[in-house]
Symmetry: C3
Subunit: 643 residues, 3 copies
């Protein structure tokens, strides 16, 4: 199904009915509205103007559209910021981040929670049972513009409160953080300071706790909104629109509040944001890399426990990357089908009509700026609208053969302590995903601690802190498991485990890590054996009590195996990664193909989709029963078939 993001407050009321009709005509079923409209809903404290939104909802409903209503908390209005300046967040350098754009609040402010609850309740009460209302979006893009963390007086107050609950006594805090190290011991929780603006690096345990605290605040704040909505809007679902490559808070936890996950898919903009090489950036500049959107589809399908939407789908060039090329013809259609193939329930374009004013005036919409004329992307969306009807209901999404265990704390830990400048968790996880997808396999993402039954191959790119639940899940896994570097290398309190890394995994994996080496670009360490290639960026020195499948140049173990549990003691280069995953997939009894760089497959039930991100045609398997597209998948095209 298709949807669109719409801002009635941006356009003359006279346009609304026509807009709604044109949406319906092109196959759009859902409209998201309202998430930035606070200043129009409550222009002054306590003075509300809901009439316009009433009429907008009625108009959309009358056209047969279903509404997703956003709570407007991403943009507190000026009068509120003036009443309570402490709402404004503070950056890591100590500067107040003031009014004038969006997301100008800290999750630590109690006043802000009270004010958020107030506006959400008022809106939930008014529209909770509106006939056009299908569901809710809480706030907008948590974490966007680096807003998970704030470094002000409110944050310090809340952090101390959080620490007091967690540690009970400063003795326990001092012990947990190792504060004896540099006379950093505190005698009272009021002695704790924020881990910024110090002479040199702050205690990594303190930083990790600060990050956890902020992440938990995001989840709790979201839960507060969800509870108010649920009470006042029975029978409606709730989602939040997550982002790509944002790892600052634990998405699994926020997902637990929601009925379904959604995310904002800007495949081309992310090409500049992810740490690709310049060659990759140039190659994928106008199509995006073929795994960027799928990575997030699979991740957020997990976060939504099987259910997810694209809440904002890029419909053309955007405005926020360093360069913003026009997508190649066909890509808007391809991305839409790709999301559906990965299980999206709805793909909602951002936005209906390009705004001729303000910060996003260079962000394309389905219609040209301020006009009723479809853009290139709008015309592609129209085609998908027809194709969806022709193709009919898609088969259900099934459990994938491969699971990737994805962990936000590990991301924080590697940011806090990279040890090698280019050790970035999301980069590592993405490369593992890319490699397994090139083998033609479906992938599910799971939080650590999830039961792994039924997965033939479980990939753990890295999991620095292994909780009991995770250990039990790994122990009970019935498939092949592969742990990557730094797994189990820290206790919950960011200490090195007594038995050395991989700590709790030592017995399962049969290894002990005695040294680690981070390698600057240009250095590598050759690996050979059952698989070969090279270690780059990171290389561990391990002792193994199981089988050694491959070794480094000096004979040390590089890849080990013990009862189905494998340990890869390095950051693998592309070749080593490819061989390792191919080897383990075979061991797991999985049939793989070797796809060209620009082709990806995705199975949804008995239906297989192929997507062409490159410049050369790709032929689908002979004899397939084509249900979408052609047997020759042209550049920027998609095909689907049943076997």
């Amino acid at each position: 199904m298709l949807g669109v993001c719409y801002y009635p407050e941006h356009w003359p009321e006279a346009w609304w009915a026509k807009d709604a009709r044109r949406m319906r005509d092109m196959g759009i079923s859902f409209v998201r509205i309202g998430e930035f409209a606070w200043s129009r809903l409550e222009p002054k404290r306590g003075e509300f103007d809901f009439a316009w939104l009433d009429r907008a909802m009625d108009t959309l409903g009358a056209a047969g559209l279903k509404v997703v209503l956003g709570t407007p908390t991403a943009t507190p209005p000026k009068w509120l910021m003036d009443e309570y300046p402490e709402i404004a967040p503070v950056d890591q350098q100590g500067r107040v981040r003031g009014f004038g754009s969006r997301r100008h609040y800290t999750f630590s402010s109690e006043v802000w929670w009270r004010e958020s609850a107030r506006i959400v309740e008022i809106i939930a009460k008014r529209y909770g049972e509106h006939p056009a209302l299908d569901g809710w979006q809480t706030d907008n893009e948590y974490g966007c513009h680096d807003t998970t963390q704030s470094w002000g007086a409110e944050d310090l107050k809340a952090f101390r409160r959080w620490l007091r609950l967690r540690y009970q006594s400063t003795d326990q805090l001092n012990e947990a953080w190792g504060n004896v190290f540099w006379s950093m011991e505190v005698a009272s929780f009021e002695d704790v300071v924020l881990p910024n603006l110090t002479v040199t690096e702050t205690n990594p345990a303190a930083r990790l706790d600060f990050w956890r605290f902020q992440s938990q605040q995001v989840a709790a704040y979201d839960k507060m909104q969800c509870e108010i909505i649920r009470k006042n809007s029975p029978g409606r679902w709730i989602t939040h629109n997550f982002m790509g490559f944002v790892n600052d808070f634990d998405h699994w936890k926020v997902g637990e509040n929601l009925d379904l996950a959604s995310w904002d898919s800007y495949p081309i903009g992310f090409v500049e944001k992810f740490p690709f090489s310049q060659e990759e950036r140039n190659r994928w500049a106008e199509t995006s890399h073929p795994d960027i959107a799928p990575f997030h589809h699979d991740l957020y399908r997990g976060v939504g426990r099987g259910r997810f939407w694209i809440m904002e789908q890029q419909p053309g060039p955007v405005n926020w990357a360093p360069w913003n090329p026009v997508p190649k013809p066909g890509m808007v259609r391809l991305w839409t089908w790709e999301a559906l193939a990965h299980g999206a329930e709805v793909v909602s374009y951002f936005r209906w009509r390009q705004a001729p004013f303000a910060q996003e005036q260079m962000h394309a919409g389905l219609n040209l700026p301020g006009s009723d004329e479809l853009s290139v992307g709008g015309r592609e969306a129209e085609i998908v609208g027809r194709e969806i009807i022709e193709t009919g209901v898609l088969p259900a999404t099934e459990q994938a053969p491969v699971a990737i265990v994805y962990d936000y704390e590990t991301y924080w830990a590697t940011v806090i302590q990279p040890q090698g400048r280019d050790f970035q968790y999301h980069d590592l996880a993405f490369r593992w995903y890319e490699a397994v997808r090139k083998l033609g396999l479906n992938v599910d993402f799971l939080p650590p601690g999830t039961a792994l039954e039924g997965y033939k191959l479980v990939l753990v790119p890295s999991l620095m802190m292994v909780a009991d639940a995770a250990l039990q899940a790994f122990s009970a896994a019935d498939g092949i498991v592969l742990y990557g570097p730094r797994s189990g290398s820290r206790t919950r309190q960011f200490a090195i485990p007594e038995n050395l890394p991989p700590g709790p995994l030592a017995k399962l994996a049969g290894v002990r890590v005695t040294q680690v080496s981070s390698l600057r670009p240009g250095l590598d360490d050759a690996v050979s054996g059952a698989v070969s290639g090279a270690a780059i960026r990171w290389r561990e020195y391990v002792e193994a009590d199981g089988e050694v499948l491959a070794t480094f140049a000096n004979g040390d173990p590089a890849l080990t195996a013990k009862d189905g549990h494998h340990y890869l003691a390095c950051w693998p280069d592309q070749e080593l990664l490819r061989q390792t995953l191919t080897h383990l997939a075979a061991k797991a009894g999985l049939e793989t193909v070797s796809l060209p760089d620009h082709i990806r497959l995705r199975k949804r039930g008995g239906m297989t989709f192929a997507f062409n991100y490159g410049t050369e045609v790709w032929a689908i398997p002979a004899g397939a029963n084509v249900v979408l597209g052609e047997t020759e998948v042209k550049p920027q095209a998609v095909s689907a078939w049943k076997e």
Copy 2:
């Protein structure tokens, strides 16, 4: 004529008479003094010491030198900063920029205006009719060190005042800026905040208005000084010394206050400042790029409505660039003649004698540090002094066949909204100038809205906001016109025009822009047709109702023509730019040559000058009547001839 910058306060009084005599002897006629001397003229509030300046003026006058007196407002003294700390500017990060160097004031401070008026009036009254006084310089290098804009409380107060006058009501302001977008609406002008230190980007319309406001303050402040001087110094002219590649304020507006423009020419330092490639930087490191100084000569001849000086001419290595090489032998002479060829009335070297102390001790002068011995540059200046006498009066500068419309607001708009990281207006304008100069043509710079009669070829590298006057001038043009990318792409309020770009130019140019693509380095789009080459950095998707002269690879129009008005829908690479300008020059009936990279010509009346920036000799046309230099123009040499 030659001049020099001199600081009597830096040297023992006993040296002054000898200095003056030596200046006169080497052909110097003008001496600029006084522009940093406030602490010596008024050591404490109300306690003046003019005796030394009296004697200095008398001494210079007695030697037959004419004085240009600078107002000392670029360096408010310590006691004044202590009395009124609010004079100090604030940087974009919120830090006060304090005493200890220069230009430590914000144009927004009312106290500062009052104090400036006071000191200017006192000086103008005292020296306004001094027999040695020829003219005035207001302040020094407005905008230097990023001082056009300031971000403090004084600035916010003044900005609100300015907005109230401009918009009358907050409804109009909210509408003009599109403040509804992210609940940014204000209920009072006191709600307006400065467009900095926000969570993400601020409203571009707000930023543009803030920039206009600051630019207008510069012009108004300068006008205040000019009016006081005019009242107290009848018959003397006024100038200001502008800088190279500073676009932060509208120089056309400041120029309106002045009798003539002047600028500070440091050709070698600018090689590091302008966004050249590393290859270009290495190639031109010791001569400067052959279009840097000429670009500014032609620009400031326009700003001065035909009259301009070089107020500060680089006489050797300087101190402020990342690297500061010694110019190749001959370059000081070449630059001096080049300025004269472009119409400069006076070339004034900075400075008479290298200062052995303080911030500019590594800045060469005509004399070695603290000495009476000419430097290499001093000896070249001496030669030019003789040559000027030998060559006699130069013919008058005539209107050029080619006009470039140069617009400061477009620069601000592209800084505010680059959309592609390397879209910089001054880079684009410079490349167009370079290309047309390589065809051997003289160029005039004009502000948008100037009548274009008599120009055979009018180049508009980009003009984002097209005012009525500009539209009328283009409509009335009797030559060939070429508009570059993004022209007409914004309304005065920084909105996308209702009829889409190029907005007001749509009818004239016969195009409509529906999409734009910014291309990262490494991407391009081939262009072929009547002209060929490639688009880099920026490519527009246009619909044309006129003739299509060249197309992109997919067949879209790249260069269009309609009744002499042309539209170039991209940032052209060097080859496409060369072919386009050659094609249009031919269409305009202009004879062109194809000059080597290192040779440039300039006609002044019937006299043609040739300048050699390279390493190979260049022969002037056979049979020319040489009046300066030789028929073989050697490296770093200049020749001139009459036909």
Copy 3:
């Protein structure tokens, strides 16, 4: 002899005795303790807990170990920072650098001096005559994390005090700094502001004075500690542990307070810190560059007037560089022997056991994290422990044939006024050292002004400010002297000398510098004559009244000679430097060899050591009497022989 850094407060008391015994068993004689333990010694103001340290000292002493006790002033505890917030330093951007790591104090705070004196006296009284105590370390790593300078109110107050003493009157200050230049004159010492946060660069003379002031504070603060210790701990020696490539304060001056110097040797981490090329960084990533540690050994042997220790020796990978590779096998042993060859009395490893918690948990120790198991580095140290016994007492270190005059003020001056972005004094000095070491020669470092008797070759890479004592020492030198670029180019007050550079050296060296050119990467100037190669980065234009040994392409002097005094008018590339030093060594009657890039020699008395940093074997001279290692020096190996 060997030592180790130990933190009893990090481990259960039950472990101490075993730790001590294991240290002793592996050949360790010295243990440094206590330097970060303030919060454990004085948990609250006036409440002391010395019992644990008493027991720790006793335990170590009982095992036959000698203790080096550090004063704990590098880590003031939280309660003290709360009592006196003015102790915290302020960064150059005006931000307070707060509690939470270490070195969070400014040397300018009078309260801090009082509190430092208090704790040092208490500790010195308690342990000054403890039988296990061998000596003291003051504070820890002055200047680490950019802490020599602080930019707060306390610093301004102290700076004004310092200036008043130095200049007596503001007239003298204004004159000395050239404050007339931009109306920067002050009427009172209270008018002086810190040289930061100005609109453009501040007065270089003011910056240099500010740097001197801060450097002097470091030396005076250290002296204060030393005097208290000496009074209370008769017969014990005092050192401070200096760092590598830290030039922010004058180490010669601090050295004067001490009985011996020591430094913290992290050869691999420094590969990333020093401005090497990327090629060099890759090549030496896992061994370090063969001159990094020796450079500092020779420098600190000078600072310690012949006596020095390695207080912290890298025993494996560290945690603080951008990348932290594991050293190649053998390097820990090689570095230890290398330090001994250069005259170190003790090599003390940092640290006994890797800490599993806090900021340095990724810093290797002699034992694995939290365990009693030796690491790779620990096992190499154990081998050295045995070898030291086998080899016996080493011969005494003798005066080297070559002296390098090393000057901290020149470093400050080039940071303040680089003039060419890549002119860095320590880079230049290092390259000269590297070149002379490749000739197989021993080197001593000397402060300017030291008598030069007995040195056959005196190298002065640059000495910008030449004091009388230095001039006299050069005049009295009985060897060949070579002055590098910018020598003598500034007076004590950072002015250009009246007679032009090299100022006081002009007569000795027989040159006058009239222009300088800084050359961007990619530019050079060929040199030929008695030596050849090229100038890069920096090239001077000189007039010579002595012999011209080599010239630049245009015939100007590049290398001159006058009565044994030579002047090199450029930054030499590797070839020119090699030829110049070879030429002058021959002139000085020194026998040289031409070592491969990866081999270095060091003579200690009649014993010669060879160190192999490369990948190819190197054969020692035939017939040598090998006393350590083999006749074929393998990669990462060391050999020593007597002739």
